[in-house]
């Protein structure tokens, strides 16, 4: 299955009905219906996985991180008050888990984990390899960014979240988010230039 960025990891602002559905599912979980949490996982697993992948850099670690995020969400369900969208609350857990776990670890960057997209099947193997290597360079450069800049860049570029939602997730102001995003982009360019 292939998806473009807009489908795979873009939650945008959750619609009112989606927010209500999530709240109903959370209430069901708290009343003892564990299968309601299975539905929550199914609805949010892609965005959580993609978030974790941006920080982990490889499939195995991303999978472990994503599972940890959902477990922490399950344990802390009673603290979800419904003041924000459930996806925002889940993102907050995810960003904290990722920043705490991968902050000082050596990343196992993979160069060939770009999915084969049907429309690129005609792409030459060497071009695909170069594209994979370039992607790995970008990920390695992003991994060197300070935590807040990295979080702002990942959430804005790869999850297309609006700045006010990012501010809610990382617990800061919209101005601070934009400033971190500014520095992230500027530093990313410098890092890639120095690597090349």
């Amino acid at each position: 299955m292939t998806r473009d960025r807009t489908e795979a990891a873009r939650p945008e602002a959750a619609t009112a009905s989606e927010r209500e559905d999530d709240r109903v599912l959370v209430q069901a979980c708290l009343r003892g219906h564990r299968d309601a949490f299975d539905v929550i996982v199914e609805r949010h697993q892609r965005q959580v996985y993609q978030l974790c992948y941006r920080f982990a850099g490889n499939h195995e670690d991303a999978s472990d991180l994503a599972q940890d995020v959902f477990l922490r969400a399950y344990r802390g369900l009673h603290s979800f008050k419904g003041n924000s969208a459930f996806s925002t609350w889940l993102y907050r857990i995810g960003v904290n888990v990722c920043l705490n776990r991968v902050g000082s670890r050596t990343h196992k960057w993979t160069t060939l984990e770009v999915a084969d997209r049907p429309d690129n099947r005609a792409e030459r193997a060497d071009a695909r390899l170069l594209r994979g290597e370039r992607a790995a360079e970008v990920r390695a450069a992003i991994a060197k960014l300070p935590k807040k800049q990295r979080a702002a860049l990942v959430l804005r570029i790869y999850h297309d979240l609006p700045h006010d939602q990012i501010a809610e997730i990382v617990g800061t102001s919209v101005g601070a988010v934009k400033a971190n995003f500014f520095h992230a982009l500027a530093n990313l360019k410098k890092l890639l230039k120095s690597q090349s």
Binding site: M1, Q50, Y53, R134, Y158
Partner: protein, 202 residues
């Protein structure tokens, strides 16, 4: 005119309609601001070169099953307000613990308070307040009916349970309680302290 701020540059490259016409005019004529915006666009383009790493389609079923299994091993989450639905007996027990803790805190801390260094001056009761004379108050606390209720409620209580419930004395509690005593109550407290000192040979 000042150069565009970091926030304004971010809004510009994201085509956010927040910049005023003046700021846009500055940008069009300022080489420094245009160079900064170009650098930001380059950074964004570079970031987009890392496409989505989509795992195998089979991954999602396997992942969901993994999480479901891990969740089954967890204790069920409980709503923060579930204690409101507890039976009446739990409320009664909680209320008893609270009353008992207050009584024990005042009784124990006052009986073990250091002996006063100066004689206690007893004030005559004010004539416009109807007060019971000290002689009408019980001499023996064990004979006090109210205290008997507290003792009965506490007979099977564990002090650790009380602490675990978050009920404990805090610094200043004794002073706060003492300030709320009436003049007669302070007289009686002083009498009890005197008696205790004499009994213990202090």
């Amino acid at each position: 005119m000042k150069h565009l701020s970091r926030i304004e540059l971010v809004d510009l490259i994201e085509s956010s309609p927040t910049l005023s016409a003046d700021r846009l005019r500055h940008f069009e004529t300022c080489a420094k601001c245009r160079a900064e915006a170009e650098a930001l666009r380059d950074g964004r383009t570079a970031a987009l070169e890392d496409g989505d790493a989509e795992p195998s389609p089979l991954f999602w079923n396997h992942f969901a099953a993994r999480v479901a299994q891990a969740v089954r091993n967890e204790p069920a989450p409980v709503a923060a307000t579930s204690w409101l639905r507890a039976p009446v007996i739990t409320w009664a027990t909680t209320a008893s613990i609270v009353l008992l803790a207050i009584g024990i805190t005042v009784w124990r801390t006052t009986l073990h308070a250091p002996a006063p260094t100066a004689p206690i001056v007893r004030q005559a009761p004010t004539p416009d307040v109807a007060l019971a004379s000290p002689a009408s108050l019980p001499d023996d606390v064990d004979a006090d009916e109210a205290w008997a209720v507290v003792r009965a409620a506490a007979v099977n209580l564990n002090w650790d349970d009380v602490h675990a419930a978050g009920i404990s004395a805090h610094p200043g509690d004794v002073e706060n309680v003492a300030q709320e005593l009436s003049a007669d109550e302070r007289d009686e407290l002083a009498r009890l302290l005197d008696e205790d000192r004499k009994r213990n040979g202090v």
